[in-house]
């Protein structure tokens, strides 16, 4: 997710696209990626090299490429849409490419970048998502069994504040800077005129370039990616909610789509005869009456369960008192002589 607009936030789009590119290279198909870019840098009128987004200066690496599939673009990147994608509470008309179709066996990688502060991340220069909201969204995901394990990476200023509030199990988080520190950008390109990448993501990208689908590199190496000497800010990570030891977690568990394939050299024959299969499960001898819907649901009982509501009536004493007063006032004003007309 890239949450920043405007040309000078080019680097956030480049960050996101480089991570996108890496995960695609490692095997995750577009149907399993939700890419949210808040602004279009490749076709921005200020881009001197249209249809490209570079991540290295001297235009070494074009992360935009030919087959970028952006799912949420421009003004669609809002806090509401992001939370809806995470929790799955989206309107039924949303196309599949815009949904996170995960289940309880899915490992999810969430990468967010933009401008942030202590406890919030700014979306589109008009709203923020707080760390509490994010933690609650993850808890909703956990309760709805939408993830098996979740890796959360954030590259913003004071990014560590965003993972402070997580309380759901199986979440590992990395951030580019601690609370009170700013994440810095890497290198400006004089040809394009803006900073191309942020430092943390630059070094993460370099690290990921060396990963291939079969590599056994684990999370501890990812934690070491950007030491203070290179990054100026202190990257942080959080593993207390994660049940496995980070030593045993492969990078490709999150960044790649690696199937466990077992190659065997012997043939297995599938039995064509299925009769033997049936005899294992004898049919039920007793023929029971088919259950009709009405009998299963005793509607008549349910209707009469609610007690009949009694209407409220003013108490008799009140009515008596009121009308007695009215009659008294009437007779006091107009004299007692009218009494004989009543009786």
């Amino acid at each position: 997710v890239c949450t920043s607009r405007f040309w000078f936030n080019y680097r956030h789009v480049a960050n996101t696209l480089s991570v996108y590119r890496s995960v695609k290279r490692l095997g995750i198909p577009d149907s399993h990626i939700v890419l949210m870019l808040a602004d279009d840098m490749a076709c921005n009128p200020r881009n001197p090299k249209p249809a490209t987004v570079f991540s290295h200066k001297n235009m070494e690496l074009n992360v935009y490429g030919d087959d970028v599939e952006v799912d949420y673009r421009s003004y669609e990147v809002t806090v509401e849409n992001f939370l809806r994608v995470l929790t799955g509470r989206i309107p039924p008309s949303t196309p599949r490419s815009k949904r996170l179709l995960s289940d309880d066996r899915s490992n999810i990688l969430i990468y967010m970048t933009g401008h942030g502060g202590n406890g919030f991340l700014k979306f589109q220069d008009s709203e923020e998502i707080t760390n509490v909201e994010l933690a609650d969204a993850f808890e909703q995901m956990w309760q709805k069994r939408r993830y098996n394990e979740l890796l959360f990476i954030i590259d913003t200023c004071q990014g560590a504040s965003m993972y402070e509030r997580f309380y759901s199990p199986n979440i590992m988080a990395l951030a580019s800077s601690q609370v009170g520190e700013d994440s810095l950008s890497h290198q400006p390109d004089l040809g394009i005129g803006v900073h191309l990448m942020d430092r943390y993501t630059f070094y993460v990208l370099e690290f990921l370039e060396e990963i291939h689908p079969a590599s056994q590199t684990n999370m501890n190496d990812l934690f070491q990616v950007c030491p203070k000497s290179l990054c100026v800010s202190t990257p942080g990570h959080r593993t207390d909610l994660f049940q496995r030891d980070p030593q045993n977690v492969l990078i490709t568990d999150f960044f790649g789509s690696v199937r466990k394939v077992e190659i065997t050299t012997e043939t297995i024959s599938l039995d064509r005869d299925v009769a033997g299969f049936e005899s294992k499960f004898p049919r039920d001898e007793v023929a029971t009456e088919p259950l009709k819907y009405a009998e299963q649901l005793p509607v008549a009982q349910i209707i009469h369960q609610k007690p009949k509501q009694k209407d409220w009536h003013p108490p008799g004493g009140f009515i008596l008192g009121l009308w007695a007063l009215i009659i008294m006032v009437f007779f006091k004003t107009y004299g007692i002589k009218h009494m004989k007309h009543i009786f």
Partner: protein
């Protein structure tokens, strides 16, 4: 005079019935200028529904009307539209009869003062004749019934109409001279919305005048009568409040009704002056300012009583106007009541200075209220300051209207006793200036 009144009543009832059947009825009931948290019909229905469910209607700050209203509407809720039309008609008829009697009193007093030579010789054109006063009661009923404010208030079914009826009957009872009925109706009006308490003073002054008791602090009969009237009023108020206790067997209508009126917790925008101030005020100061604002309503009674002790009816009019401007949740229904009295002072027309500007201000502001509401709430291109500006302007218009009539009244009184052509000591023409 009965036939034209019946005609006016029929026209008014037709207009209201037509509006009830149209689609405007729903739109008008939602307007904040017409329905305030105190007298919105929606809240009455909500309160009665809560009662049917077995919960006290005063739990949760939804219903702020008195238990007698619950009693009234419990039985007639299906015919609510008819009830409100009847209350409007009753108000108009009561005002008609009241002003008819009042005109007789005014004329009698004028005759007495002419015979006693209290008037200067050249004020012939200021003397009022029965001919010109003949149609005033009809005009009053007409202005009340066909005033757009009244019609809107009736179509929205706001219980302000019931308050107006009680006040109209109070005025009728006062003018007829019956202290008991006047005290009872004033107690009912105070019971429903707290502010008619200030109308005690003009009613007392009028009754004293009628009994020919001079208003001197040393006079024994003055104090005796005052005590009697105050005792009648307070006793009826206490009796009504105790009776309301027996309706629901609980006292929680007192904080819900009177606590609500006095402490102004609901800051929904309306045409009054309270909401904006308290919306932006720090909690620290809100108690102080609530007290200041509420004292402001009651404060004008004593100076006006001192100045207008010879003219209690005008005092009543000014006091009604002050109540509807400065009360905590005013609606256009309150304004309709005091505007109904304007034809009674139509002889002051030649002394009114700002009447054109004021009528333009009032009409323009009335039209701007829904416009700026729409811009603020729906279009989002204005904010509450715009709406409050119109509220302020509208209230300033009303205040200037009242003070203009006040000025004209006092000026006429001065001319009556000192003559129309005022001269200074050296003989040149003098001008009357209000200091």
């Amino acid at each position: 005079m009965a036939a034209p009144l019946v005609l006016v009543v029929l026209v008014a009832v037709t207009v209201r019935a037509a509006l009830y059947r149209s689609s405007l009825a729903a739109f008008i009931s939602e307007r904040v200028e017409v329905a305030s948290p105190l007298n919105a019909w929606k809240r009455v229905v909500e309160g009665l529904a809560l009662l049917d469910l077995g919960i006290s209607p005063y739990s949760g700050a939804v219903f702020h009307e008195t238990p007698l209203i619950i009693y009234l509407f419990h039985f007639v809720i299906e015919y609510a539209e008819l009830v409100f039309m009847i209350t409007d008609v009753l108000t108009a008829v009561a005002l008609y009869l009241a002003i008819q009697d009042f005109n007789k009193v005014v004329f009698k007093k004028q005759k007495l003062l002419i015979e006693l030579d209290k008037y200067a010789p050249d004020v012939a054109e200021l003397i009022r004749t029965p001919m010109e006063m003949h149609y005033i009661p009809l005009k009053v009923a007409l202005v009340y019934l066909l005033n757009p404010y009244t019609v809107m208030s009736c179509v929205a079914k706001s219980t302000c109409a019931i308050n107006n009826t009680v006040l109209a009957f109070f005025i009728l009872a006062t003018i007829k001279g019956s202290a008991l009925l006047s005290a009872v109706f004033l107690a009912l009006a105070t019971y429903q919305s707290l502010y008619p308490l200030t109308l005690f003073a003009p009613a007392l002054l009028y009754l004293l005048q009628r009994q020919f008791i001079p208003i001197k602090p040393k006079s024994k009969s003055f104090w005796l009568y005052t005590m009697q009237y105050a005792a009648l009023y307070l006793c009826s108020l206490v009796v009504i409040i105790c009776l309301s206790f027996f309706l629901l067997n609980s006292w929680d209508f007192i904080p819900s009704v009177y606590g609500f009126i006095l402490s102004v917790p609901d800051l929904t925008p309306n045409i009054g002056l309270f909401w904006y101030f308290f919306a932006e005020m720090f909690e620290h100061f809100s108690l102080f300012f609530v007290c200041v604002f509420q004292i402001n309503v009651f404060f004008y009674t004593i100076p006006l009583a001192i100045k207008l002790k010879e003219h209690p009816m005008f005092f009543m009019f000014v006091q009604l106007a002050i109540i509807s401007i400065f009360k905590s949740y005013p609606t256009v229904g309150d304004i309709a009541l005091y505007m109904a009295f304007l034809p009674v002072w139509s002889h002051l027309y030649r002394f009114l200075r700002n009447i054109f500007i004021l009528s333009c201000v009032l009409i323009a502001c009335s039209f701007l209220f829904p416009v700026l509401w729409h811009l603020w709430i729906y279009a989002g291109s204005a904010n509450s300051n715009f709406y409050y500006a119109i509220t302020l302007t509208f209230n300033i218009g009303q205040i200037l209207l009242v003070s203009d009539y006040f000025y004209a009244f006092l000026r006429r009184e001065y001319y009556l006793t000192h003559g129309l052509h005022l001269t200074r000591q050296d003989g040149t023409e003098a001008m009357l200036v209000l200091k």
